[in-house]
């Protein structure tokens, strides 16, 4: 609900519903079976691209696809693997959306998330710790978009009126990483 409200303020109001649609479809596809982490990421990528509809489809789709490739052949994901995965996702989003930091987009969440995961990996932490650190940094990054003026995406049409609102894409990035951290803690 928060995503829908945030997107109503500076976008077209469909981000929350689109994300729900995409990930519900992805879960259904995954229940049909996916062997490796790479397969899971690929299935999610393809499903998001064909079901989300808004900009989040190609952006998150490309992110999951590049994340899958960034893992290489590793079957177990450690903290360094989490950093590689987030690095791949960020690279994909930057390539697809041609955005950089400070433009009030999801790049402002993924960039600090990568730095946080890398720091945990260097300190010898676990994959779950890396995901929690990344999700915390992503949420801080999302909150830091509030004073920014949007210069990419639909919100950029609002110019100065985009200032004072938290970016929906950066926010959903933080939710996604928090969900991944919670899931890895259970596993």
């Amino acid at each position: 609900m928060l995503l829908i409200e945030l997107d109503r303020q500076i976008g077209d109001g469909d981000h929350g519903a689109n994300m729900d649609k995409g990930f519900t479809a992805a879960v259904a596809k995954l229940e049909a079976g996916a062997e490796t982490v790479q397969d899971v990421l690929k299935v999610v990528a393809q499903t998001l691209m064909s079901t989300v509809g808004g900009a989040a489809g190609p952006l998150y789709g490309t992110a999951f696809l590049r994340a899958s490739k960034a893992l290489g052949d590793d079957t177990e994901v450690d903290a360094a693997g989490v950093a590689a995965l987030i690095g791949g996702a960020l690279e994909g989003i930057v390539a697809r959306g041609k955005a950089t930091t400070g433009e009030k987009t999801m790049v402002d969440a993924w960039t600090p998330a990568l730095a946080a995961a890398q720091a945990v990996a260097e300190a010898g932490g676990s994959a779950t710790e890396a995901l929690y650190a990344a999700s915390k940094a992503a949420l801080e990054g999302a909150e830091a978009t509030i004073p920014m003026q949007a210069t990419k995406g639909r919100a950029s049409y609002l110019g100065e009126r985009s200032i004072g609102h938290q970016d929906p894409g950066a926010t959903s990035t933080a939710y996604l990483l928090a969900a991944a951290a919670d899931a890895s803690g259970i596993a």
């Binding site: 077209d12 469909d14 689109n18 691209m49 064909s50 079901t51 989300v52 509809g53 808004g54 900009a55 489809g57 190609p58 952006l59 789709g61 490309t62 697809r96 959306g97 995406g153 639909r154």
Partner: protein, 130 residues
């Protein structure tokens, strides 16, 4: 030389159908396809719809010029193109330009037998905004 077909990618089915209607007036023999809305008919764009429209035109022997309405449609098209082989990619141009004027200009260029490069150039409609 292959004839060139157009794919109109829009968030709205109505918008895409309107663009095709308008373009067809001056391009009656040109293959025009829409890829608009999500798979379940909401506002948005669909990877599968774009891919299907392009594939359909390619299988009918056309080269393809793609036009889009807004930024996220552009990203969907670029994602589709990333999945194609280089050989196939050569027959498809994504032309960023104004959707309505670009489609009409490209339709006319295709109607008079223009090749892929000249139809794509017309779709970008640069001369209209110079």
């Amino acid at each position: 030389m292959r004839s060139v077909g157009l794919v109109i990618v829009s968030h709205s089915e109505k918008l895409a159908e309107g663009v095709v209607e308008l373009t067809a007036q001056m391009a009656r023999d040109v293959a025009l396809r829409t890829a608009a809305g999500t798979d379940d008919g909401r506002i948005g764009t669909s990877f599968d719809k774009v891919n299907d429209a392009v594939t359909e035109l390619r299988e009918a022997g056309h080269d393809v010029v793609i036009l889009t309405d807004l930024g996220s449609a552009t990203m969907t098209v670029e994602a589709v193109l990333d999945f194609l082989d280089d050989d196939e990619r050569e027959h498809i141009v994504f032309a960023e330009g104004p959707l309505v004027e670009g489609a009409v200009a490209a339709g006319v260029a295709a109607q008079v037998g223009g090749d892929l490069a000249s139809v794509a150039q017309a779709a970008r409609a640069r001369e209209l905004f110079a």
